[in-house]
Symmetry: C2
Subunit: 334 residues, 2 copies
DNA sequence: GAACTGATTTTCATCGATTCACGATTCACG
DNA sequence: CGTGAATCGTGAATCGATGAAAATCAGTTC
């Protein structure tokens, strides 16, 4: 395949000039520029990205590390990140960790070897050794719900509290008092934050009510289990908030299978607002965690620290808000 | 950051020896090897992937081009490709075309510049110029449902006929005779193939029945529209096969909204078997297009032509099969 | 002790760009 | 018409690895 040298020879100029024409990195006279471009065309020349990155030290690649692309939360996030990256001329290397810390660190290592300009770490399978390794290499990093920002490192901080408070106020407004929560796996930071937000808000808004919490797994089955626990309870809650939509859907399915009607018998609120939340019957009332915004800010933060490495990383608050649909209704007898 | 030269100096050997130790590409005495590894550790050395690819001409990267990661068909495909690639030490650059041919060709160009070892083109926004460009560059390519295999190019050919025939036989077995089809956008190759398979199979199995075909868009709305068309029909079909699950779900939703019961009043069969097909009520009977298999074979074909570029690409048939669930039942009065 | 062997290791050209320091032209202006 | 500055190009070092060919060395053999 033809290299920059071939093009230079064909155009009768030096490789430096060809480089400048291609990258617009210095003024080149109209005449020479035209000759070079013609030669590029004639040779079918494609610059070699590896040679380019090696020489310039820059790579125009971002790493995107997520836990599981098959989890309906992620595709839209990936899409928005990919979109923003494409717009700015960056390619995205996708790393799917399958929730495996070992695999995560192998991936991060590879991304470093690749000299990616930045990494979006949208997962929590991270140990601190890995993080300090990235710090040492001065890779731009953006985390999701993890630690404080630092040099080269920004953090997206989802405002779980706001959405959950909105959800609870919504239910209280509908006359609900006995409100339960289906939490996620304890080792996931985002699950812990959601649970904490629920606990705190109920304590504040309904001080006489005890916290009613079911332990879940962020999957359909966790919701089903919670439904069975609900059915077995002495004093059944009249409303349930699930820490994510998958569990909310599992819950709804199992309750209906038991002959109950949603929202007549129980009101259900989910979290995330995955695509299918609005497609099932009844359409799920849920707290939206805006993925496009997440993605846009993630790329924005990366590009900012790539452009100004000396500046401190930032903390970006991502709002969440309630989307009221058909799975919530006034409490019976209220 | 430390380079191979620093490591060599630290270990008191040449760079070649370091390289050989790291890549296991030639015998190195135990003593020297240990010294090198210690130096690698001490320097915190990470090989530079660009320098490596430039020197060796190999890149250990695959490009994955898909239409829309937010379309529920793709995440599982991406996941299986990513899995297989990871296992073989390859990274995946994700290219989401948003069904835009212009964007597709820019992406493919970038992948070529990156000197990716292979590209999986799981989309149909491709013009022949692009394909011949890839052929000229001798990139390994695997297509989905596109053209014949050739040098460096393999093709995954989904056996739509088998699954659709199975679906129709299933319905006929349940006593259905008036069976309709909701097709996809005419410009998509895979949509055309599904429609053709339906038409052909009905003509063969139910020669007296006219083909009943609704035009759809592969999205929920297309299914809803088909439902309205169904409601308006003189002689309503007793069963509907949709070209994909999204339309099947839209159809079911709209029919139920109109007061009909599925499968009592109409049997519905989808296609693809996306995750939500088995999560909705009634659980959707559908033709499964096995994504894991697709992904595994895609990577397999790429690695094979990377390893043996002189061999002709292959054509791989991907089976499809019916998964009978709750959305189909005996025809009324049958 | 010279010549030969086999086992290891080193030297150095190379991959294909970028970019710096410098050289050649051109131009404005007093 | 000479001069300094601005403009436009070039040559060559450089990035960090790989890998073919040459070099080194210890141990045999004659």
């Amino acid at each position: 395949m033809s290299s920059i040298r071939d093009v230079a020879r064909a155009a009768g100029v030096s490789t430096a000039t060809v480089s400048h024409v291609i990258n617009n990195t210095r003024f080149v006279s109209e005449e020479v520029r035209a000759r070079v471009l013609a030669a590029v065309e004639r040779c079918g020349y494609y610059p070699n990205a590896h040679a380019r990155s090696l020489a310039s030290g820059r790579s125009h690649t971002l790493g995107l590390v997520i836990s599981d692309i098959a989890n309906p939360f992620f595709p839209e996030l990936v899409k928005s990140i990919e979109d923003a990256a494409f717009e700015h001329g960056y390619d995205v290397v996708l790393s799917n960790t399958n929730y495996d810390p070992e695999r995560t660190s192998r991936y991060v290592r590879r991304l470093i070897e690749r000299k990616v300009a930045g990494v979006a770490l949208m997962t929590s399978e991270l140990d601190s050794a890995l993080i300090s390794e990235m710090a040492r290499r001065e890779v731009a990093v953006v985390f999701l719900d993890l630690g404080r920002p630092g040099p080269h490192m920004s953090n997206l901080c989802v405002d779980y509290e706001a959405g959950i408070e909105e959800a609870i106020r919504h239910l209280v407004g509908l006359g609900h008092r006995r409100i339960a929560f289906v939490g996620g796996p304890a080792h996931l930071r985002s699950a812990a934050k959601r649970s904490e937000a629920f606990r705190e808000t109920v304590a504040r808004l309904l001080p006489r009510e005890p916290p009613r919490i079911f332990r879940g797994d962020f999957k359909l089955e966790g919701g089903r289990e919670a439904a069975r626990a609900w059915l077995a309870a002495d004093e059944r809650p009249t409303a349930v908030v699930a820490a994510n939509d998958m569990m909310a859907l599992g819950l709804v399915g199992e309750l209906r299978a038991a002959g109950l009607e949603i929202p007549r018998d129980v009101s259900v609120v989910g979290f995330d607002d995955i695509a299918f939340a609005s497609l099932v019957e009844p359409r799920l009332t849920t707290v939206c965690l805006p993925r496009q915004e997440l993605g846009r800010h993630a790329v924005g933060a990366l590009l900012a620290t790539i452009a100004h490495p000396e500046q401190q990383g930032v903390e970006i608050k991502i709002p969440t808000y309630l989307v009221a649909r058909g799975s919530t209704a006034p409490a019976r007898g209220a």
